[in-house]
Amino acid sequence: MRVDTGEVFGFLGPNGAGKTTTIKLLVRLIFPDGGSARILGKSIDDVSMHQEIGYLPEQPYFYDYLTAAELLDYFARFHRLTATDRQTRVENILKKVGLETAKKIQLRKYSKGMLQRAGLAQAILHDPQVVILDEPMSGLDPLGRREVRDIILELKKEGRTVLFSTHILSDAEMLCDRVGVLVGGKLRGVGTPEEMVGIKTQGMEILFEVAEGKNLPLLAKATRTGERYRVQMPEEELYGAIEQLRAAGARILSVAQIKPTLEDFFMNLVEADRAQANAVEVSGK
């Protein structure tokens, strides 16, 4: 698997698929039995490579006797920054992640979401070229998730490479140039979200309103929400359906293609993997 410079790469997979294990291998928290990995052309065993990477662990936990400002200053010291530079960067990064007002509070008083922000801050504090984030949206409220998404997009704009793991597929669809799907420890696919799900439409969907009591055969297939009806059909039946609706005096609100989502693709892979595992188990018996 290769992640190109400047791209946002999403690492997808169900729990236990091996996302965190892969990331831990990259940052030398665990060691491989075989194989090799390189970041920016340097072996992951080369400690100098860590000057250029930022890492956010999954569900981060930090020294709770420190304040956020102290924690960031502590981490910044390992990146050979001068005292003035450290102070400026810490101030700026705290502002960026929304912890400016809580910078003098000890981390033991932080909520899960605030710890996540502090974790993100320490990962990007030294302007790394490669940012590796393990479940960066985990534990965040919608506002926090939005802020993290904005930070990732900002990092991309600055030309940095971002690799992040997630099981929130909408985030991956929204942010990633490419995604890799890991199931059962194996990489099952790499590509853009569009490539992964394919471009073939699965049918059409019409959203419409119609007066009560109209004799409309389409209503038998439609689902109703309030005053509105939603009906799905194969593409070739679309014009016939529109004719029916016009004849009945219905108001067509929208006509849209039904496309498979990344979630569909993901679920298909996971289910195929489970089916294969079950088949092996049955034949083993």
């Binding site: 928290l29 060691f31 100098s48 981060p60 930090f62 006797y65 390992f78 990146h79």
Partner: protein, 258 residues
Amino acid sequence: MKNVWTVATNTFREAVRDRVLFNLVFFALLMMGAAILVGQISIGIEESVIVSLGLTAISVIGLFIAVFIGVGLVSKEMDKRTLYALLAKPVERWEFLLGKFCGLVMTLTVNTAAMAVGLYLALWTVKHTLEKSDGWILVAVYLILLKLALIVALALLFSCFTTPFLAILFTAGIYVAGVFAGDLRTVQAVDLSPATMNLLKGVSYLLPNFENFNVMGAVAHGRAVPGALVRQATLYAVVYGAVVLAAASAIFSRRNLK
């Protein structure tokens, strides 16, 4: 070495904020109580009682800190996963380990120095004066500190490959065995075969000989401590400590942090 210093100062800060130095209050109370009591009941032996009691307290309190906090230096970071973000920085694992060691030794140095001041105050309260020979107390305190540093190194080593509970047991066990290492070398038992005797002797040389650092008896009675003994004990602690820390680094450097 800058990374080692950064980790060490943070370890010291952790100890201060976790109120490790609060044990000094207990030591101060003990010394005040002893000074008052000894002044009332002892005749002529006030000084040796105070010095013995003070040095023993310095040693025992330091021992507790060295074992319990020493074991937690790495294991607590692994349990709480606080070292994950740190080890992804440009820091070698041996630098982290050495920094933790130095941080706790710094804490013990400050703690021991404060207790030594308390001991001198208690002594002054009893005698109303201090003599030149009382300076040997500082030598005894220095040797206690060397012993404590060695115990921290052992606690670190064990915590690198086993659970905190077992690491505490192993460190305490090695300490007790190390106190009797000298006796093991000279033991003469009629019912033991020569092979067993040689094995015991061999083991005794592997164990840290903590008796090398014990000059409490001499100092309590105002006797001088030979300079050669201090130099040998220092060299022994440095070499033995370096070997133990090197072993700990070798183990920790390949440990998977799951």
